[in-house]
C-alpha cells in the first residue's frame, strides 16, 4: 500500500468509528438532538466531510476544467441528493463504501499490475565492467560493442554477447519458459535476460543494449497494450456513451414522473440518485484491459510473446493453422533415422562404421549426420583414394577395401544388386568390395511433442491444419500422415508459399482466422500476410520478432495449443466480466427505477462489481498447461 492509500485507510477507519457512534446515538440512545433536522444534518455532515472532502474538492475542480460527467461529481450529486431527501445516514454510508471500494479497487489493480510486471521483469539493472582490475557496476546502456563484461553467479546477463572465458549453466526460463538450464562455455553465444548459474562468465559484448534481446522483448511487451482488441475498443466507446445516458435518465427520472404522476418528489429524486451512483463504467474500463494484460503476462511467463490484445482475440477465433515444415514441425537438422543392413551377416554397427569411414573426408550435412551417428573418432589414415562421383556419391578405399557410398544411381552405375529403400528421406547405400552392405536412412526428425500438439489443436477447435514445404513430395507427405495433418503442399518455392497462404486467407472469413507458423527466417512475408503470424525458435532473431505477431521463444510446438488455451480462457474471462458488470448494473438500474433497490445495492453495483471483476480478471494470470 502506498502513502496515499494508507492515508485513505486511516480516514476510512476514523469515519467508520464516528459513523458507528452517531448511529448508536441516533437509533439506540435516541438522543433528542436528532429530532431537529438541522442538528441531525450537522452531526452527519461531520463524518461525511471527513470521508468525502476530497471527492467534493475534485468534483468542483474538474467542473472548472470542463469535466462534467466525472465520477466525483456524480457521487457528490448522489449524496447531496440523499441529504436533500433527509436520508443523512445513507448519504454518509454511500460515500464511505464508495471510498472503501475505490481503495480496494486501487489496491487490487496495483497488486495485479505489479505481479504482471514482475513476470515480465527481465530487465537487467547493471553490468559489471572491469576497470583497472576492479569490477565496476555500470548502466547496461553505457556498455559498447566489444567491451568485456563479467557476469557473476546468480546475476542476470545484461547484454547479448559471446563467452570468452568460463563456463556455467544459464537459466533461460524468463525468456523461454524452459526450466532446464542451458550449458554455455567458451565461444558460446549468450543472450541478455538469462540468469547465470554457478560459474563466473566473462563475456564480450556483441550488441548494444538497445539492440539486445532483452530490450527488444521489453519494448514489445510494453507496446502490447497499444494494439487493442475489438472488445476493448468497444468498451472504450461504450464508456463514452454509458455515463451521459445514465445521467440523462436520472434527470428524467427525477423530473418527469412527479410532474406526470404527481406526488412525492423526494422518492423520485432518491431513485435518480441511485442512477448516478451506478453511472460510472469503471468495472468494465478497468477489468477488460486488465484481463488482456494478465493473459499476455501468463503467456510471457511461458515463453510466448504476444504483441497485442487484438491477437489474443484473434487466437480465440483461429480455425486454420498453416505450418512451415522445416524448423517448425521438424527439427531442421538431418539425423540418421534408420540403419538397414543388406543381409544377415552385416550388423548395424559395421554398416554405420563403413558409411562413416566412407564419408570421412566429406563435410556435407549428410556426411556429418552419418559421422555424428557413428560417434567414435574416425582414423583418417585408414582412408585413401577418395573420389567423388558427382551426383552419385563417393568411392573410397577404407582399410584397403573399396567402399561405395551414395544414392541409387551409384549402385546402378556400379552394377550392384541393392534393396531399394522406400522410406521417406535421404538414403545412402553402402557397398564394400562390390557387395551391397546396406543403407542408411537420413531424415529431418519430427520435433518432440509434435504429435501431441496437433492432437491438442484439434481438441481446441482448430478445423484445418495445413503444411507447406519446399521439400520433396514423399518426405512432406510422410511427415503429414504421421501427424494427421489435413492438407499438404510440397515442393513449393518461397513465392508459392505466399500464394498458398493468400488462397487459404481468401477462403476464410473474419470469424475463421488463419495463423501461419514458421521459423521466421525466410517466411517473413507470410508471417505478415496471415491473420496471426507465429514465429518459432527465434531466440535472438530480430527479423522474426519484428515480423511476427506472436513469438515462441523456444522451438516447442506444444506452445501453440497452450497459447490458444490462454487466449480462449482470457476471452472467456473478458466476456464473463462484461456480462456480469453490465447485467448487475442494468438490474440495479431497473430495480432502482421501480423503487425496489436502494443506495446500498447501487454502491454494490458500482464499486462491488468493479472489485469482483478485477479479481476475476486476475485469474488470467494463473492459466496453466
Amino acid at each position: 500500500m502506498n502513502k496515499k492509500q494508507k492515508n485513505m485507510l486511516y480516514r476510512i477507519i476514523a469515519t467508520a468509528i464516528i459513523y458507528g457512534g452517531v448511529i448508536v446515538a441516533e437509533k439506540i440512545v435516541k438522543l433528542e438532538l436528532f429530532e431537529t433536522w438541522w442538528a441531525s444534518l450537522l452531526i452527519f455532515a461531520f463524518p461525511y466531510l471527513i470521508i468525502g472532502y476530497d471527492i467534493i474538492f475534485k468534483a468542483v475542480r474538474n467542473i472548472f476544467n470542463g469535466q462534467v460527467f466525472d465520477e466525483n461529481f456524480l457521487m457528490c450529486v448522489a449524496t447531496f441528493g440523499a441529504f436533500g431527501t433527509g436520508e443523512y445516514s445513507e448519504a454518509v454510508a454511500v460515500m464511505l463504501f464508495y471510498q472503501v471500494g475505490e481503495l480496494f479497487q486501487g489496491y487490487a489493480v496495483n497488486k495485479s499490475r505489479q505481479s504482471i510486471t514482475e513476470l515480465m521483469d527481465i530487465c537487467p539493472e547493471y553490468a559489471n565492467i572491469e576497470v583497472d582490475g576492479k569490477l565496476e557496476q555500470v548502466d547496461p546502456d553505457d556498455v559498447n560493442i566489444g567491451d568485456v563484461i563479467v557476469v557473476k553467479p546468480g546475476e542476470r546477463v545484461p547484454l547479448d554477447g559471446k563467452v570468452i572465458n568460463g563456463s556455467s549453466m544459464v537459466d533461460t526460463s524468463a525468456l523461454t519458459g524452459e526450466s532446464v538450464p542451458r550449458k554455455v562455455d567458451e565461444g558460446s553465444e549468450i543472450i541478455s535476460g538469462c540468469v547465470n548459474g554457478s560459474g563466473t562468465l566473462t563475456v564480450e559484448v556483441t550488441k548494444e543494449f538497445d539492440d539486445s534481446t532483452v530490450a527488444k522483448i521489453l519494448e514489445l511487451v510494453e507496446n502490447a497494450s497499444s494494439k487493442k482488441a475489438k472488445v476493448e475498443n468497444f468498451i472504450t466507446k461504450f464508456a463514452r456513451y454509458y455515463t451521459p445516458i445514465v445521467v440523462i435518465a436520472a434527470v428524467v427520472l427525477a423530473i418527469l414522473p412527479p410532474i406526470i404522476l404527481g406526488g412525492n418528489w423526494a422518492s423520485w429524486i432518491k431513485r435518480a440518485c441511485i442512477f448516478l451512483v451506478i453511472s460510472c463504467p469503471c468495472a468494465l474500463v478497468i477489468s477488460v484491459p486488465l484481463s488482456f494484460f494478465g493473459g499476455i503476462g501468463a503467456a510471457s511467463k511461458n515463453g510466448i510473446l504476444i504483441k497485442g490484445s487484438n491477437y489474443i482475440e484473434a487466437l480465440s477465433e483461429m480455425k486454420v493453422i498453416v505450418f512451415d515444415k522445416t524448423g517448425t514441425i521438424t527439427k531442421g537438422e538431418f539425423k540418421v533415422q534408420k540403419l538397414i543392413p543388406g543381409s544377415g551377416d552385416v550388423n548395424k554397427g559395421e554398416l554405420i562404421e563403413w558409411a562413416a569411414y566412407a564419408e570421412g573426408y566429406s563435410d556435407h550435412p549428410i556426411a556429418k549426420s552419418i559421422k555424428d551417428a557413428y560417434g567414435s573418432n574416425i582414423d583418417l589414415n585408414l582412408v585413401d583414394n577418395a573420389e567423388e562421383i558427382s551426383g552419385h556419391g563417393i568411392k573410397v578405399n577404407v582399410k584397403g577395401k573399396e567402399v561405395l557410398a551414395g544414392n541409387e544411381k551409384l549402385m546402378k552405375l556400379k552394377n550392384i544388386k541393392y534393396q531399394p529403400c522406400t522410406e521417406a528421406g535421404t538414403v545412402v547405400y553402402v557397398a564394400v568390395e562390390g557387395k551391397y552392405t546396406g543403407c542408411v536412412l537420413i531424415a529431418d526428425g519430427i520435433k518432440e511433442g509434435a504429435c501431441q500438439a496437433f492432437e491438442n489443436l484439434k481438441k481446441l477447435g482448430v478445423r484445418k491444419t495445413v503444411m507447406l514445404t519446399g521439400d520433396r513430395k514423399d518426405v512432406g507427405e510422410a511427415v503429414a500422415s504421421k501427424l494427421h495433418i489435413d492438407e499438404v503442399y510440397t515442393e513449393l518455392l518461397p513465392a508459392d508459399k505466399v500464394t498458398q497462404v493468400e488462397r487459404i486467407l481468401g477462403e476464410s472469413d473474419d470469424k475463421n482466422k488463419v495463423a501461419f507458423v514458421g521459423d521466421g527466417i525466410n517466411d517473413a512475408p507470410v508471417l505478415m500476410r496471415s491473420d496471426i503470424g507465429i514465429a518459432m525458435g527465434s531466440m535472438g532473431s530480430d527479423a522474426a520478432i519484428e515480423a511476427a505477431d506472436i513469438v515462441l521463444m523456444d522451438d516447442d510446438i506444444r506452445k501453440i495449443p497452450l497459447v490458444m488455451r490462454i487466449a480462449s480462457k482470457t476471452m472467456g474471462i473478458v466476456i464473463q466480466n462484461i456480462v456480469f458488470a453490465l447485467g448487475v448494473k442494468l438490474l440495479v438500474l431497473i430495480l432502482g427505477a421501480l423503487g425496489i433497490a436502494n443506495m446500498w445495492e447501487a454502491v454494490f453495483a458500482d464499486v462491488g462489481v468493479s472489485v469482483i471483476a478485477i479479481l476475476n480478471a486476475m485469474r488470467t494470470l494463473n492459466i496453466k498447461e
Binding site: K58, E222, P281
Partner: protein, 72 residues
C-alpha cells in the same frame, strides 16, 4: 518522433482513456497511447514542435487528472 514517459499516480483507467483521447486531438500529435497497466505514455508527434506539443500534453493531462504527474 516517438517518446515514452512514465506516469505517476495514474489511478483511474477511465481517466487514462480520456487522456489518450484528448492528447490525440492536439495538433501535431500523430499518435498517442496512455497505458494504465504499465503507467506509461507514448507520444508520437512532429519533431520540430515536440516541446510545444509536450506542454500542451501536460496541460491536457492536468485537466483530466490533476493528480497524475508526467515524469519527463
Amino acid at each position: 518522433m516517438k517518446k515514452k514517459f512514465k506516469l505517476q499516480d495514474l489511478d483511474c483507467a477511465n481517466c487514462a482513456a480520456k487522456m489518450e483521447e484528448n492528447i490525440k486531438k492536439i495538433n501535431g500529435v500523430n499518435d498517442a497511447n496512455v497505458s494504465f497497466m504499465t503507467q506509461k505514455m507514448t507520444i508520437d508527434a512532429e519533431d520540430e514542435k515536440f516541446d510545444e506539443i509536450m506542454q500542451e500534453v501536460i496541460k491536457v493531462c492536468a485537466k483530466v487528472e490533476p493528480d497524475c504527474k508526467i515524469l519527463v
